[in-house]
């Protein structure tokens, strides 16, 4: 399955594809890693306000290397900026926004997503690992819509879209949509529903690399409609 790395979207292209689905006027929290790249790709003309759980609404781009304020950082502890109209607040108030359902959308990475929407993204459960959860459980339990961006398979080719998660859960039944290098996939009552295949990627190719139930898009296979 090493060809899975040669076809499909790059990390930046995955972020770019996800960015197309960020609605104008929404309040968004972006997780660490590929999700962080989404902000740079939101189409012109949309105004999106970014929240970082360490106490800033209205997060702007990172400053040039060595610039910025070491006390103006994001949840990944990288220096960022604050846009016009930003506000600072303490941690408990920040999680009022999250837990209270005020953030419209969160884009996160994943270790595994199950076909019922279960998300595992904080621990492999390895006995010698130092457990660390951060704000992941709060985000997925509180934010209205959860998007995941992830490679379709692990580096060794194992599916990350699975029938049921083998890793410890971050929260059950929370994922709405998944952006992988191979496809855009919705989590539905019937299983993983392909919304869109990446260029040059065939449905069968994706199905072979998916462990749960994978439904083709109506366009690809009209008989499913």
């Amino acid at each position: 399955m090493t060809d899975a790395r040669r076809i499909g979207l790059s990390r930046d292209e995955m972020a770019q594809r996800a960015a197309l689905d960020i609605p104008d006027g929404s309040y968004v929290n972006l997780g660490i890693g590929i999700p962080e790249k989404v902000a740079a790709h939101v189409p012109e003309g949309r105004e999106v306000i970014y929240h970082t759980e360490n106490g800033l609404l209205g997060m702007g781009p990172s400053p040039a290397e060595g610039m910025g304020d070491p006390e103006l950082i994001n949840a990944g502890k990288q220096r960022v900026s604050a846009v016009q109209g930003a506000s600072f607040f303490h941690h408990a108030d920040s999680f009022v926004m999250i837990r209270g359902g005020h953030i419209d959308l969160c884009v996160l990475g994943a270790l595994q997503v199950a076909q019922n929407g279960d998300l595992a993204n904080w621990s492999t459960g390895a006995p010698d690992a130092i457990p660390a959860v951060g704000g992941a459980m709060d985000l997925v339990a509180g934010v209205k819509t959860i998007y995941v961006i992830t490679q379709h398979t692990t580096k060794s080719g194992e599916p990350k879209l699975v029938e049921s998660c083998t890793y410890p859960l971050t929260s059950p039944g929370v994922v709405d949509r998944i952006y992988t290098d191979l496809a855009v996939i919705d989590v539905t009552d019937d299983g993983f529903q392909v919304v869109e295949l990446s260029p040059q990627v065939e449905f069968e190719y994706v199905r072979e690399r998916t462990a749960g139930e994978l439904l083709p898009t109506p366009d690809v296979a009209p008989e499913v409609t």
């Binding site: 303490h90 408990a92 999680f95 339990a141």
Partner: protein
Amino acid sequence: MIDKRITSVEEAVADVFDGATVMIGGFGEAGSPIELIHALIDQGATNLTVVNNNTGSGEVGLAALIMAGRVSKMICSYPRTANSTVFPELYRSGRISLDLVPQGTLAERIRAGGAGIPAFFTATSVGTPLEDGKERRTFGEGDFVLEHGLTSDFALIKCKKADYHGNLVFNKTARNFAPVMATAAGITIVQTAEVVTPGELDPECIVTPGIFVDRIVTIDSPALESELVARGVSYP
């Protein structure tokens, strides 16, 4: 006369006792009261339970306190960050214990502790291993777990500017856990870059009212954790 200024960091932390629970502000280095932590290392109190979102980095500040063997238990959400090597070693060798709490639950438990709320329900951690041992209950259409308020004997926090009544304002995302920790600690000790006369801070903009603050020490040019780490400093 209300004047909460203390001359030195040594005096400010002098009464921290062995076995105390100490909340320490900061999210990574932003808001970390590094001079107060170093004073606590010098002071020598041991067997501490420390509440912080992380476990420090390099061998300064919180990481140095842990490295010195003074911390028997960490309550935190993310003990694994860049340049964080001290905690993992001690944890793997069983010399420090960890109470892992989701970040928002940690913030709310501290807020509850300061607000006189012994327990509350939240959806966070339902259906995960971190639910183990917690009471679960259904409200409306959702399931929630019972979490308990968290208080401490001391809080060490950092702010940008204080008046000597103890009113505080912060710098950007260095605010993070400090305001809730100030409410939840028996004794709240603040290091500030500047102290002004009461009335100089806009009463509409004060983040932490003086009622939550016990001691103020001025550290006009606080060290920056990342710079110390980059220079390879190991405290003491």
